[in-house]
């Protein structure tokens, strides 16, 4: 997954605007996608991610802005003249054709000679491990197999950019996990620049090189999955990607050298190690506390730092993880307890202790 940062980006989106009538669905989107990168557009319904994908593919006209593919401005090119290929959510496989005919359709349209077509089709089928299925009709395939045929078809003309519109959304949960991995492996092997759209943030995090979190037609944040998860740029992103507990507070003190900081919260003082450089004492902040980062133990009373006392409201044991809800004061906190060995005791526990970790990401509250 090594990418030369100095390489020219494969895809550049410059200040893209899109209007449907008076409704602006993309409000100035800019992005650079590097070669070989898998970038995922993720966001709630209506954020514009699919529109953006279709814009790149050429199925929708751009209202303002530029799309540059491998150095060439492609705004006015129809889909077939752009070196992008799209794979739709419902696969859009031609039901009246066989697997081989589907995969070879693009080649046929572009007047490849028959033998070259057959060879390429075989190559592609092998790549997606469907070599034996060439003559099957589409409706005789399972969901996962159809997915792979759609993928193979999209790759048939060796596009520079592969556009995947929620390709896994129609599969059942288990299959999704398997296919997700396969797609990623294939993408890496082919080193093909890919733009992936999904509403499932976990999927996005699992396979992407970078995430593009969108909301209401704008890009909220672009970053690697780790960056997005651990250092969300705002409340929306923090809540969207994974589960989160928010705690209000104010920076009471900060030691510039050690980066030790104390946050005043309604529950008491919380000590954290502040890495962020844009936060100063006196700032009102929102603490982004992930459920799995909080330690939960039985019985209140220890006076250790960062420890709060609360009542265990619910405890849902699920084998490898127990999901707890703890009421502290008039707030509720969600805590994930991994490898819950004391489950039996927790089930009957009333009072519990939660320990807030020292490495918590802070969001500066707007005045």
């Amino acid at each position: 997954m090594s990418m030369n940062a100095n390489e020219k980006p494969m895809l550049i989106l410059k200040d893209i605007h899109k209007f449907y009538g008076n409704n602006e669905v993309l409000k100035g989107v800019s992005l650079e996608v590097r070669r070989g990168e898998l970038v995922t557009f993720v966001g709630p319904s209506g954020c514009g991610k699919t529109t953006l994908l279709r814009l790149i593919g050429g199925f929708t006209d751009i209202s303002a802005g530029d799309i540059i593919l491998d150095g060439q401005r492609i705004n006015d090119l129809p889909p077939n003249l752009r070196d992008t290929r799209i794979c739709f959510q419902n696969y859009a496989l031609f039901p009246h054709m066989t697997v081989a005919e589907n995969v070879g359709y693009g080649l046929k349209i572009n007047k490849w000679p028959k033998d070259k077509t057959a060879a390429r089709v075989n190559e592609l089928l092998e790549m997606v491990e469907l070599s034996a299925y060439g003559d099957r009709m589409i409706d005789k395939l399972s969901g996962g197999q159809q997915q792979r045929v759609a993928f193979a078809r999209a790759l048939s003309l060796e596009p520079k950019v592969l556009l995947l519109d929620e390709p896994l959304s129609n599969l059942d949960a288990n299959l999704r996990l398997v296919m997700r991995e396969e797609i990623r492996k294939l993408q890496e092997r082919l080193h093909i620049t890919t733009v992936f759209v999904t509403h499932d943030q976990f999927e996005a995090m699992a396979i992407s090189d970078r995430l593009v979190v969108m909301k209401d037609g704008r890009i909220e944040q672009v970053g690697s999955p780790i960056e997005i998860y651990e250092k969300p740029a705002n409340e929306f992103i923090a809540a969207f990607v994974g589960y989160v507990n928010f705690m209000d507070g104010r920076v009471a003190s900060l030691d510039e050298k050690t980066r030790d900081a104390v946050i005043d919260t309604e529950y008491g003082k919380i000590g954290i190690t502040l890495e962020q450089v844009d936060i100063n004492p006196g700032d009102d902040v929102l603490m982004v506390v992930r459920p799995e980062s909080v330690n939960i133990s039985l019985n209140c009373g220890s006076n250790r730092p960062n420890v709060l006392c609360g009542r265990l409201k619910s405890y849902m044991y699920a084998g490898s993880i127990a999901k707890c809800t703890v009421t502290i004061g008039d707030r509720t906190m969600i805590i994930d307890q991994y490898n819950p060995r004391d489950a039996q005791q927790f089930k009957h526990a009333e009072k519990v202790e939660v320990e807030i970790p020292r490495s918590v990401h802070l969001l500066k509250k707007k005045k």
């Binding site: 593919g57 199925f59 077939n80 290929r85 799209i86 859009a92 039901p95 349209i109 572009n110 078809r153």
Partner: protein, 563 residues
């Protein structure tokens, strides 16, 4: 005391036994009753026609059939009819396809207006087009006079044109339905890979649409050959089966030959009905999961775009002109000949009387039809007895049968006691009921499919008897289907001509027949005015129907209109 108590208990247990029996079997009893009704008012008249075609004064004979197939005159009639059907079907499919393509994939600005004008002929009786053609191209026609044309309107071409215009909405609706269910992503994928619009059409769109197109074509064929008005008004000296049946019965009072013609006319209809409903069922390529999404306008190449636009514009223009012309003509005695604008056409007493009669008949038909439709739907969906498919088939078959045939059938079946109905309002109403039953039934069935049987089971579980469940749960939920069936039956009954032309009685004119008479007689102004009044009534009905189906998510399926 104890024994009295015991006997009371026994009595009530036998009463409750009856109740239980009824509860368990009410569906079956209902089914039997409905089946008898269908058999009586739909199958029996047809059988009578069949018998009449085979029975001469001396018993059963094939002589009439022999006469039919040997005499040049009848053969021509059959040939013309079939040819008309084929030409009409092809033309309607082409135009309908272009229209549907433009409204689903063409530029946004064209979509709504094209859709509206494609559907506009639905509110008019089919013979409106014959009328408009006469106004324009008749011997005193506007265009004829303006350009001193010598084109012969009366004859095959006139009938083809008027029938085509009349059935465009049918073709359009069915094709649009299929196009909408076609996943736009398919075409976009092909487009993505470099296929031109023409190639997409050729390799993707049309092959996938093929079953839908076939179904549409079959239906159009059947409706075209069965429709009476246009062929009768514009046929001139060219014989067609439907008007010939009419002349045979009402002119020559030759019921035997009339019945033979009817049987010949029915044969393709029934055949196609079977193919349409039972062989093609489920053969479409279902490609959409989830709701169909309006496809974005694509850049369609001029090679395709220009012919399509030309075709759609011509068709849309023709439809518009026809309506406009009839509207204008309603204010003149004879447009083009007399020159003063008058209102007397609208105020004409006998035609208003006829409209009033038509409303009465249609109203009665609508009530009965909607009720029977709902009951039939329930029996078909929930019943568990043998022969359910047969009942469904029977209730839908009214659609497939040419109106002329049912008209004659009713004349034969119900003119003698103890079944004497001729001469009254009921025979007209019942005829409409059973011809147009299909819509109420279909609406009921689709609505019932939305109600899971668990709802009824829950009701029963809570202690309600069958009747209670039916009246308190099922009927209220099916109410929209009842309304749909009611309005639709009303609308179609009021403009239908083919059957009622045989069944009108002295002093009881119907609007459709009045228009027909006036058109044939050359009283164009009167015919136009009466037609416009009918159009207005139908338009109001459609608006109510639209409003209700939007409110209750009834869904489409109320597609066709036989007359």
């Amino acid at each position: 005391m104890a024994s009295a108590g015991l006997s009371v208990k026994l009595q009530s247990s036998s009463r409750s036994k009856v109740k239980d029996f009824l509860n368990a079997n009410l569906i079956n009893i209902l089914a039997v009753v409905l089946f008898l009704l269908l058999a009586f008012f739909l199958l029996y008249p047809i059988v009578m026609v069949l018998i009449k075609s085979l029975r001469g004064p001396d018993g059963f004979t094939l002589q009439y059939y022999k006469a039919f197939f040997s005499k040049q005159y009848y053969f021509q009639s059959l040939y013309n009819t079939l040819l008309l059907g084929v030409i009409n079907t092809v033309v309607c499919l082409v135009i309908g396809f272009c229209l549907a393509y433009m409204t689903t994939r063409g530029p946004w600005i064209l979509r709504k207006p094209l859709k509206i004008i494609s559907l506009v002929p639905l509110i008019a009786p089919p013979y409106l087009f014959a009328l408009s053609l006469i106004i324009l191209f008749g011997r005193n026609g506007l265009v004829t006079r303006m350009f001193d044309l010598h084109w012969q309107l009366y004859g095959f071409s006139g009938v083809v044109i008027s029938q085509t215009l009349a059935f465009i909405p049918l073709a359009y609706m069915m094709i649009e339905n299929t196009l909408m269910s076609l996943n736009p992503n398919l075409e976009e994928s092909a487009y993505d890979m470099g296929a031109s619009e023409a190639t997409i059409l050729r390799t993707i769109t049309i092959p996938l649409l093929a079953p839908g197109l076939l179904k549409a074509g079959l239906l159009i064929f059947v409706m075209t050959i069965a429709e009476f008005g246009n062929a009768a008004i514009l046929g001139g000296r060219t014989p067609f089966l439907a008007p010939d049946t009419y002349t045979m019965i009402t002119g020559e009072s030759d019921f035997n030959m009339g019945s033979v013609l009817s049987v010949v006319l029915i044969a393709p209809c029934i055949l196609i009905f079977f193919i349409h409903n039972y062989l093609l069922e489920g053969k479409t390529f279902t490609t959409i999961g989830g709701k169909p999404v309006a496809s974005e306008p694509r850049k369609i190449t001029p090679l395709i775009k220009i012919p399509f636009i030309i075709i759609t514009m011509v068709a849309a223009g023709a439809i518009f002109v026809c309506f406009a012309v009839v509207f204008v003509a309603s204010f003149y005695k004879i447009l083009g000949v007399t020159h003063n604008i008058i209102l007397s056409n609208y105020l004409d007493f006998t035609s208003n009387q006829a409209i009033y009669n038509s409303i009465r008949v249609s109203f009665v038909a609508a009530v009965i039809g909607a009720v029977i439709g709902i009951l039939l739907a329930y029996v078909i969906v929930r019943g568990k007895f043998f022969g359910r498919t047969f009942i469904e088939m029977a209730s839908l078959s009214g659609f497939a049968l040419p109106g002329t045939v049912l008209g004659i059938g009713y004349l034969l079946a119900f003119s003698a006691p103890p079944l004497k109905l001729t001469g009254g309002i009921m025979i007209l109403a019942l005829n409409c009921v059973f011809r147009f039953l299909a819509v109420g039934v279909e609406a009921g069935i689709s609505k019932l499919h939305q109600i899971h049987i668990e709802i009824e089971e829950a009701s029963a579980d809570l202690g309600a008897g069958f009747l209670t469940t039916f009246t308190k749960i099922v009927l209220p939920i099916m109410f929209p289907a009842f309304i749909a069936g009611f309005i639709y039956t009303f609308m179609t009954a009021i403009i239908s001509l083919s059957a009622v032309v045989f069944l009108v009685s002295p002093g009881f004119d119907l609007a459709a027949v009045k228009i027909f008479d006036a058109a044939i007689y050359g009283e164009i102004g009167l015919a136009s005015a009466t037609t416009m009044k009918l159009v207005l009534i139908v338009m109001i009905c459609m608006m109510i129907l639209n409003f209700i189906s939007k409110k209750t998510r009834l869904g489409s399926g109320i597609a066709t209109k036989p007359v």
